[in-house]
Amino acid sequence: MASKDTTFLGWPVLRQLASGDFLGRGTSVTSRRTRHVEARTTTADRVVQSVCPYCAVGCGQRVFVKDEKVVQIEGDPDSPVSRGRLCPKGAASEQLVNSPSRQTHVLYRAPRAKEFQRIELDQAIDMVADRFLEARQHGWQEFDDKGRRLRRTMGIASLGGATLDNEENYLIKKLFTAAGAIQIENQARI
């Protein structure tokens, strides 16, 4: 076939005459690319079941992966919750995942600096760990004014969780509570 496409015999005018498509509106004018069209849902290396990350309806998603890249995300027809359907946000999930403006590096802004700078992830976590302990210490309250035990720190607060996994919320709550930090909040209260 390939050779036919590139030779005189592949000239659609001849195919027009040879086929039933005399007016050149169908079979005779297709290009090689058209004849071998593939859907990326078919050529994906694997399909992974997921859940839409936007609202709390919990619509099922199918994530198509090719060469370790997400190439398509669409509704999962098996889901009894959503029956394969997605709203505009859910339908835009692929763009959420592959957004060109997405940040993939740690950025640090020093006090009074006018711009961000890139720092290493490892260094950044170390810096946060140091500051965490310092703030914990700084805001520590062992007792209240009546002498009752509080055993907590007011130096650290956190906001977020409604878009996170249960497992993540669990670790956050566990770590913060153990550290004595109580000001943990999420979107549920906004």
Binding site: W11, P12, Q16, L23, R25, V29
Partner: protein, 380 residues
């Protein structure tokens, strides 16, 4: 229009880094805005209350925020320019072959060279108008009888081939002396094919002049589609008078007699056909774009030039100067006609009124005649 004194505080470039829709959209929302001030409401989306000059009485017109229903052709000046120059090419080919047949050497040579030049320019115009000019050869990928452009491409190609031969023959004739060897062989071959090529050129010239009208009419552009019965006659007339006008300018008065006669016939055809065309459009309610605005001005000028050119042509047999002026007037008139018709067509596509009103009218008409089974809208 805003009324806040604070507007000046917002830097003008703010938000400007985003790409905005082209002005078409701004105009439309402007229309919607003006509706908001009116009494009957921004929510009806009734096309800005265009109720003046109701061409089709008793048909209430509404639209989707005044947006066009059909898309205007994305063509720019290349296409009307091609319509004109292609017409010149076609007419010149006819004149050339006629002159060859009647032994008017100067007219023959100049017509053929004009045809060649016009063909070359036309080709350039056609290619440059493409969204992907590098793919112009794809035009020869198929022969599509349903596509006036495909048919036209083949006509143009054929015409170009014959024009190439006749031009080569003319050039050969200009060579200082006949030589032998391969060059001589070629020249002899040219001699042999010149006359058949001239005939071919003439035979392809007429379709080349006429097909462009079908090119326009075979579209959803309301004004062009409704012009379909008369536009071919306008276009062949226009081609004839334009090519003749060019030869009146280029060729000596003595040899340009046929050109003058052809010009007069062209003028007659153009004017009569244009008159009938306008009546037809009037009836269909899409004449307005031809009368108003830029297109209207061009068309009025074109008519004046053609009439004047025609009168001049009558007198042009006596004076080269008059011939030049008359010929130029005719050619210009033809060019303006083409630009006006293209322009008016595009305007008619932009305004939903010209799409919706004629369609509603013809639907009503068919219904009045008892034909109710051919509507796109059904209740079952």
């Amino acid at each position: 229009m805003t009324t806040s004194a604070f507007d000046s505080y917002r830097p003008p470039d703010e938000g400007g880094r985003r790409r905005r829709r082209p002005s078409l959209r701004d105009n439309v929302s402007g229309a919607a805005r003006s509706m908001a001030r009116g009494s009957s409401g921004w929510l009806t989306g009734d096309g800005g209350g265009r109720r003046e000059a109701q061409a089709v009485p008793d048909v209430e017109f509404s639209s989707y925020y005044g947006r066009s229903v059909v898309k205007p052709m994305p063509w720019k000046h290349e296409i009307p320019a091609y319509l004109f120059i292609g017409g010149v090419a076609a007419g010149s080919g006819l004149l050339g072959t006629g002159a060859a047949a009647t032994g008017l050497d100067v007219l023959r040579r100049r017509s053929r060279l004009t045809a060649m030049a016009a063909v070359a320019v036309s080709g350039g115009l056609l290619v440059s108008d493409l969204g992907r000019p590098e793919r112009f050869l794809n035009m020869l990928r198929t022969v599509k009888l349903t596509s006036p452009m495909s048919v036209g491409t083949w006509i143009f190609s054929g015409y170009s081939a014959f024009t190439g031969v006749t031009t080569a023959a003319e050039l050969a004739r200009m060579l200082p002396q006949r030589s032998s060897g391969p060059v001589g062989t070629v020249l002899r071959l040219l001699d042999a094919v010149e006359t058949p090529a001239g005939v071919g050129q003439a035979l392809f010239a007429a379709p080349l002049a006429a097909y462009t009208s079908v090119l326009l009419s075979d579209t959803a552009t309301p004004l062009w589609f409704e012009s379909r019965r008369h536009l071919p006659f306008v276009f062949v007339g226009s081609a004839a008078l334009a090519a003749s006008g060019v030869q009146m300018v280029l060729s000596p008065v003595a040899q340009a007699g046929p050109a003058r006669r052809l010009a007069l016939l062209g003028v007659a055809s153009d004017l009569v056909a244009m008159h009938r065309l306008e009546s037809q459009l009037e009836e269909d309610g899409v004449r307005e774009p031809m009368e108003t605005g830029h297109a209207g001005r061009m068309l009025r000028t074109a008519k004046a030039l053609i009439v004047a050119g025609g009168l001049g042509t009558v007198l042009a047999g006596r004076s080269r100067a008059v011939a030049v002026v008359a010929g130029a007037a005719l050619a210009t008139g033809s060019a303006l006609t083409r630009f006006a018709i293209v322009d008016a067509g595009i305007e008619s596509a932009k305004d939903p009124k010209y799409t919706v009103e004629p369609q509603k009218a013809r639907l009503e008409q068919r219904r009045a005649q008892g034909t109710v089974d051919d509507s796109i809208v059904t209740v079952r």
